[in-house]
């Protein structure tokens, strides 16, 4: 097997070259041009460094030392239905599996009124939807991982709720990277369309299966139509081999309500970029997040709410607990554009450090160009409340249990925001296990 270059960029570019050389006559297609533009953008920018404001706390230089061979059309894997059974949640019977970036029909199972198919099929079958929403919201210009995804992805899941459709049953999106045969760098591209007056709930998890490093780079575009409700829960509890980049960009129409809840309990490296742009009045956006870092985990949450229109509200709460030598980063930006009068925007980030070697970087950002708005942000970092610990211990409770009780209580506020009971209970249990309860 030929060596594909000495660093991340060389590996990507030579992988793309090999792909292009096999295209023969299809190089002139419109789809391919989009890829070429995106890869050129990556070639010009390269991996972000700490000088980049959006990456100032998170060094991705380690990607250069990972030896992987990029074969972007490779759909081989050895994931079985048995593997999936271990990843699904009791009580959630609708699920789709994306393995190494490709939608797996065999491993998916659902009975839903949503339209669910591979993105690849949607690209040829849902022309109108694709023209209206595909590659429209992702920030290829400012996020090099989005442009990488645009250049290198072929598939993922397409989910659509038709006008007026209310689907109570949540859909579980299971993202898997199979790293049994070697280090992998895999892209998945998802498109979620919630048309006017619809209501759906999504639950997304990511998993690396195998002894080698698995890098997932997942880009998700979300359209939230008029008077539509969308709840998107992400649960990240991967192995120490999992490296995860996720960009999720939403566009919200008037009277819509979009709730994102991101809970991270493990992973070698996790970077979530979450963004929403408002396009109408009376929109609500809720961002909740909880992260627990242990070992040498690095968990980075970047959020952005773009208040482009008046009379809208955003509400954001992220809470972190960082132990051992883990690093947590929260960078939340609220942009209130000149037209966005009567905006209510609230943001809060709270962190608890369990050790002297754990670290947190919290950077709230408010950028306000309208004068009649209510905005607030706050950020706090502390350690476990000593008085509370003493109080619990004075009732005979062991120090470890007392600590766990307090940390569980701390996470509860975020977990309680999850409206789907089996998921809420499952995640609550996983947090308990993390704290040895």
């Amino acid at each position: 097997m030929p060596i594909q270059g000495n660093n991340f960029k060389e590996r990507i570019l030579s992988g793309f070259d090999i792909y292009e050389n096999h295209l023969n006559g299809h190089k002139d297609s419109a789809q391919h041009k989009v890829r070429v533009d995106a890869i050129k953008h990556f070639e010009a920018k390269g991996l972000p460094t700490l000088k980049n404001e959006l990456w100032k706390y998170t060094n991705v230089g380690f990607l250069n030392s990972l030896d992987f061979r990029l074969d972007i059309t490779d759909t081989n894997h050895s994931i079985t239905a048995e593997d999936i059974q271990k990843l699904k949640v009791d009580g959630i019977d609708n699920y789709v599996a994306i393995v190494n970036g490709f939608y797996s029909k065999e491993l998916s199972s659902f009975d839903t009124s949503l339209e669910v198919k591979s993105l690849k099929s949607a690209l040829s079958e849902n022309k109108e939807d694709i023209d209206a929403h595909f590659n429209k919201y992702l920030k290829n210009d400012t996020n090099v991982f989005s442009s990488l995804n645009t250049a290198l992805s072929f598939d993922g899941v397409f989910i659509k709720a038709k006008k007026g459709l209310v689907e109570e049953k949540p859909l579980h999106i299971i993202n898997i990277v199979d790293s049994r045969s070697g280090t992998q760098f895999k892209q998945a591209r998802n498109l979620i369309i919630a048309e006017d007056n619809s209501d759906m709930k999504l639950y997304e998890t990511n998993h690396t299966i195998g002894d080698n490093i698995g890098i997932s780079n997942i880009s998700t575009e979300i359209y939230v139509g008029h008077n539509t409700k969308l709840e998107h829960i992400k649960f990240q509890n991967d192995t120490d081999n999992g490296i995860y980049f996720a960009q999720s960009e939403a566009k919200q129409e008037r009277d819509s309500n979009y709730t994102s809840n991101t809970i991270t309990l493990n992973g070698k490296f996790v970077r979530n970029d979450l963004g929403t742009t408002h396009n109408g009045e009376n929109i609500e956006t809720h961002y909740y997040g909880y992260y627990y870092g242990s070992g040498r985990n690095l968990i980075d949450n970047h959020t952005m709410v773009d208040h482009a229109t008046p009379h809208c509200e955003s509400n954001e709460l992220y809470k972190g607990v960082l132990g051992d030598s883990s690093i947590g980063t929260f960078n939340g930006k609220i942009l209130v554009r000149p037209d966005a009068q009567k905006t209510n925007a609230y943001q809060s980030s709270k962190n608890v450090l369990l050790t002297d070697t754990a670290k947190v970087n919290a950077k709230p950002e408010l950028e306000i160009y309208a004068d009649d708005v209510k905005c607030s942000h706050g950020s706090s970092t502390g350690s476990i409340d000593k008085d509370a610990l003493f109080y619990l211990q004075s009732r005979g409770i062991l120090p470890e249990t007392a600590k766990a009780l307090l940390l569980l209580a701390y996470s509860q506020e975020i977990i309680d925001k999850i409206s789907v009971e089996p998921i809420r209970e499952y995640i609550a249990r996983q947090v308990e296990l993390k704290f040895g309860m």
């Binding site: 109080y391 569980l408 209580a409």
Partner: protein, 256 residues
Amino acid sequence: MSLLKVENLQAKIEDNQILKGLNLEVNPGEVHAIMGPNGSGKSTLASVIAGREDYEINGGRILFEGEDITDLEVHERAQKGIFLAFQYPVEIPGVSNANFMKSSVNAIRKARGEEPLSPKDFLARMREKSALVEIDKSFMSRAVNEGFSGGEKKRNEIFQLAMLEPKLALLDETDSGLDIDALKIVSHGVNALRNENNAFVLITHYQRLLNYIVPDFVHVLADGRIVKSGGKELALELEEKGYDWVKDHAVEEQTA
């Protein structure tokens, strides 16, 4: 054998020597009141017996049922049967009273080699003990002390005391901030729990509480030492003459 024996106890916080050689002996079945002016070391004594680590013990020792517990951790003392009712009970958002008490009761049972209480027995006990201090049912699912009034917090302390049935209960200014109705409820709770096997140490600034919980002994603490001990009538004398009387008295005794 005495239940609690405090011998020549000296304790400081940072450079501030608060207890300066304190002696106290408590037997099962007894109620002791420790009175004294602000800053005399009353609350420190309670905290040090409970095992609070903010204080450094730099002399003397604490015996519980004959065993030296001076170096034991907070939870170990609680498991042996020492209970501190806090002057300022701590609010713990997100932890329900029921969950808190379940963890507590079962931790203590486990330390004693007993099986955890069955959910049914636990619930029955919660009901019985909460009735004792007139606590509403909804209280169980509320977070510990969060949004409680001063009186509710103190009643919660006595409720926990009732749940855990300790051998020794230290009540640190449980009467402070209570209106007369709450004071009656709290006192009634304590009196109902008194028996020949347990003991109470009431730490208070005022004599008022002692009208409702009648002590066997009253000690006056001043400047880190017990300067005068007597029966319940000592509390009345203190109320009448004020703490200056004891302080002067103590100085006379020391210089005599």
